[in-house]
Symmetry: C2
Subunit: 342 residues, 2 copies
DNA sequence: CTGTTAGCGCGTTCAT
DNA sequence: ATGAACGCGCTAACAG
């Protein structure tokens, strides 16, 4: 008769610790449950035995039992993009500090993935899903809600009931950008934007153009490509190649702005801010690199995350839409003011 | 008498679906278990009811039962650094494609966090932990192993039994870098490195210096600061400010290289490759930006991940150390060859 | 092919 | 303060 080999992976259980410490299994559970009552003597015995045996509470089991996983899903595409990476770094940092575990779901590629991401999150009884890319199908969102899962959309479209929608005030930033270019004395103002921009990026464009119309100035619009450095290079090249070359460009993204600046420098021999003023958005790390020294808008990341965590930890949060001001970061890619303020 | 309010979060269970479909609870389980035998009729009924009720298998429960979580932990610090972000993007992408779920643990800050990260991973019965930053305490590693958890160290120190250790062949790359600078006709060769470099980065330096000694050439070594763009700026400034200004610099990291190039351009009016040859390492996105056009080494990311996944999915993998060649990526930050090859 | 039974590891009653 | 019993939601094993 062959010995039966268990295919299950071995694991130290609370019962093992209890036997080793000579106490009941419940006492083990209690020593690891904050606020439970155990005598110091048994607690000490339990901790010692746990240490020796290498025991760790199985959170799969405890989560199942308590119906609280402590897991938060982070749904994002293009994770290696500077601003996105910074956001994820901050978020994961803060989630951990709040005692949560982050499950990262990469949705690069086909859009259908956002759906799969949420389904996976539901399967793990994730407490919340923070979505940085794409918007889920509303019906799917209902499934999330009915499973007690919270939904946060950062920098995403409006009209999504039941969730927290949060991001910078993109329109206001667009207006500020226009004013700054005017105040710098720019005569021919342009806008460089991706043709595949997200909703929040388009908002920046709208704010910029609305302010321009209000001020009665024309804007050269170059909208093409993706939201990337390479697109910035081409947008910049197209704009600077014109006979009526612009002298002030608002780029809806720092990545685009870096491309525009490089196009100016490498392809046209133009320098910022002397020959050209450029404003970006995001305040990515490269914005403060000496080769760019980019005037831009810093996303209110800290406040976004503050609000996000607060909302996620309240019992029955209600639908909410929050716009936070983006901070204008002055560096040296915009000509010093030549026009006095009104 | 007040009605008792359940504090547990509501959840659609297999039993609910079973009742709704008029079948047994096990049939529900079977329809969602690949390779289980259910008649098409009942499967259809189950799927329909599941759809209606919004049922999703609770993976906390199934993982507990089957002792297989399907979760892989990604342990990393400085997630927003270009190369690290790219690595995480790729890894999470591939893990998902392999049907795994990635749990991201950010260990930026104090070093103790790596320990906490692994303890957390153990709690969730993670199938493997892929460590991109820091090295765990060996005794802790044993706890991992005894809980059936695999350990992968990417770009980390050697002598770590029981794990897969994988990364580029840093020494070889260092040697290649030196040869390239010599072949470019550089007369005064320098090395720029962080004072807080990881083991793998120091290996690059060692390879470079060993090759220099072999070739009988002196190397100016500037080692200071962190592994960052800012450090590169200062390292570059220090080197280029010397009377015996170098004309060829190997930077152990692209980030440092970008800093060096900017120092040369912005602070000394020097251009690559005409006045100065620069070589980096990592092939980050910025390396191909037009302002840098950096000659560098591409990490063999794909192969690393291939091996990583393969190793993690084998039943009883044995200790292994793998060095993969880094690919030299020629761009335009190094003077064209002026010295014929030997 | 289907249903019944048992148990994954844990936390929370309810007793003592 | 401690122990016994129960159930979280699920799947594997065993009958029929």
């Amino acid at each position: 008769m062959s010995e039966k080999v268990s295919s299950r992976k071995q694991q130290v259980r609370a019962e093992d610790v209890a036997r080793h410490a000579g106490v009941s299994r419940v006492s083990v559970s209690r020593t690891f449950t904050p606020g439970a009552s155990v005598s110091d003597a048994t607690r000490a015995k339990v901790l010692k035995s746990a240490e020796i045996l290498g025991y760790r509470v199985n959170r799969l089991a405890s989560s199942l039992n308590r119906s609280e996983s402590g897991i938060v899903a982070l749904v994002a595409a293009e994770i290696d993009t500077p601003h996105r990476a910074a956001m994820i770094a901050e978020l994961s940092e803060r989630l951990q500090a709040a005692g949560k575990v982050t499950m990262l779901i990469n949705t690069s590629g086909y859009e259908e993935r956002v759906k799969d991401a949420l389904l996976q999150a539901i399967s793990f009884r994730t407490e919340a899903a923070i979505i940085l890319s794409g918007a889920p199908d509303p019906s799917l969102a209902d499934t999330c809600f009915s499973n007690g899962m919270k939904l946060v959309l950062i920098n995403r479209e409006e009209d999504f009931p039941g969730s927290l929608q949060i991001g910078p005030d993109n329109r206001a930033a667009g207006k500020t950008a226009l004013k700054a270019l005017l105040r710098a004395g720019c005569k021919r103002i342009a806008l460089a934007n991706s043709a595949n921009a997200t909703w929040s990026i388009v908002e920046r464009q709208k704010g910029f153009l609305a302010a321009a119309e209000e001020a009665g100035v024309d804007v050269l619009c170059e909208v093409d490509g993706f939201t990337s450095y390479q697109a910035g290079l081409e947008l910049g090249t197209a704009l600077l190649d014109r006979e009526d070359r612009p002298d002030g460009i608002f780029c809806t993204t720092d990545l685009i702005a870096c491309g525009v600046i490089d196009a100016a420098r490498q392809r046209f021999g133009l320098r910022t801010p002397d020959d050209l003023s450029v404003i970006g958005f995001d305040n990515i790390q490269q914005a403060e690199w000496e080769g760019y020294d980019l005037t831009t808008f810093a996303q209110p990341t800290d406040q976004i995350i503050d609000k996000c965590l607060e909302w996620c930890t309240t019992e029955q949060p209600s639908s909410e839409t929050v716009k936070l001001p983006a901070k204008f970061v002055w560096r040296n890619s915009v000509q010093k003011a030549r026009v006095p303020m009104k």
